[in-house]
């Protein structure tokens, strides 16, 4: 029953936000219909662009659940995981692609399996390191900038992860 209650809360929470955005669209349509249509088309384009990544995320969610049992997740990424947990979070964040929000469902699942919130924060922070975009960044800002910012970002991710652990005390 508790689980059913939680699901009910999740459903209402998951509907509240899109309904608020729909209300914004309604207001926007009253004042500027053409811009609202343009916004809808822009949103559709974003959705079309990220659709393949969403499929990859669902598959990854399934694979992590399949391969990483709650016991294993707790061992690799829990309080006793040590430097290996941080390393996994850093590498995972750097290699993950697509918009940040497509990773939330997978991260929630990992959290439910006992992964520490600090590691999730480090994962999310390291998404700032975009390996495929490094050539573009170098073109605009040069190699020293890219190297400096990458190193500082990784260090900051650890700092943020530790701060989250201290502030949340391992809870989420």
């Amino acid at each position: 029953m508790a689980k059913a209650g939680k699901t009910g809360r999740e459903v209402s929470a998951s509907l509240g936000f899109p309904l608020s955005v729909s209300a914004l669209y309604f207001l926007s349509a009253l004042y500027n219909p053409s811009a609202t249509v343009e916004a809808l088309l822009r949103s559709l384009k974003i959705l079309a662009n990220i659709a393949p990544i969403l499929v990859v995320v669902i598959l990854l969610m399934a694979f992590t659940s399949y391969l990483l049992s709650p016991g294993r997740a707790a061992r690799y990424l829990s309080g006793k995981s040590g430097w290996r947990g941080w390393l996994l979070a850093i590498i995972g964040g750097i290699i993950s692609t697509g918009p940040i929000y497509v990773w939330y469902p997978m991260l929630r699942r990992l959290r439910e399996q006992g992964v520490r919130p600090g590691l999730l924060a480090a994962f999310l922070y390291n998404r700032a390191v975009k390996i495929p975009l490094i050539p573009l960044m170098m073109y605009y800002f040069g190699l020293p900038f890219v190297l400096t910012l990458t190193i500082l970002t990784i260090l900051a991710s650890l700092l943020e992860g530790v701060a989250i652990e201290l502030l949340l005390g391992g809870k989420g």
Binding site: S14, P18, A39, M61, A62, Y66, I100, P144, L149
Partner: protein, 145 residues
């Protein structure tokens, strides 16, 4: 992989898809909000908010980067253009780093999936960290010209 294991994976896959579907309306809300903001707020607006004060501009860069959403490519292109326009490297760095680490548009979705306290703390800390990162990057690179 045996038949029983394959069945088990299929069950895990269906479970993952249902879990994802439960959160999909929130993702849809984020996408729709990004579409609306991207249309109603033109990118030229960015160039008007920076002054010549590096300290104030760094804070502004982090603030604008936190509000902005979308592909990080846009932040590099805009950051490069801002740099050409004479905006300080501190401000541009804060803008770029906040763009990817802070997400005010995605905050409701992050809170729904990972908890409100976690989402607010993470985004707040990311905003604060954008400032020393920008300062350190500027200080390290200034001797190199």
């Amino acid at each position: 992989m045996g038949r029983a294991e394959r069945k088990s994976f299929l069950r895990v896959l269906i479970n993952a898809a249902s879990s994802f579907a439960l959160g999909f309306p929130i993702l849809l809300g984020v996408i729709l909000l990004m579409g609306l903001l991207g249309t109603l707020i033109p990118s030229e607006w960015l160039f008007k908010v920076f002054t010549a004060n590096p300290l104030w501009d760094t804070l502004t860069g982090a603030a604008v980067g936190s509000i902005a959403a979308g592909n990080p490519i846009n932040s590099y292109v805009m950051g490069g253009e801002l740099l050409k326009e004479g905006v300080s490297l501190y401000a541009v760095t804060a803008f770029i780093i906040a763009w990817v680490t802070v997400g005010l548009v995605q905050l409701p979705a992050e809170a729904a999936f990972l908890g409100g306290k976690f989402a607010i703390l993470r985004n707040g800390l990311s905003f604060i960290l954008a400032l020393p990162i920008a300062a350190a990057t500027g200080l390290i690179l200034s001797p190199l010209g």
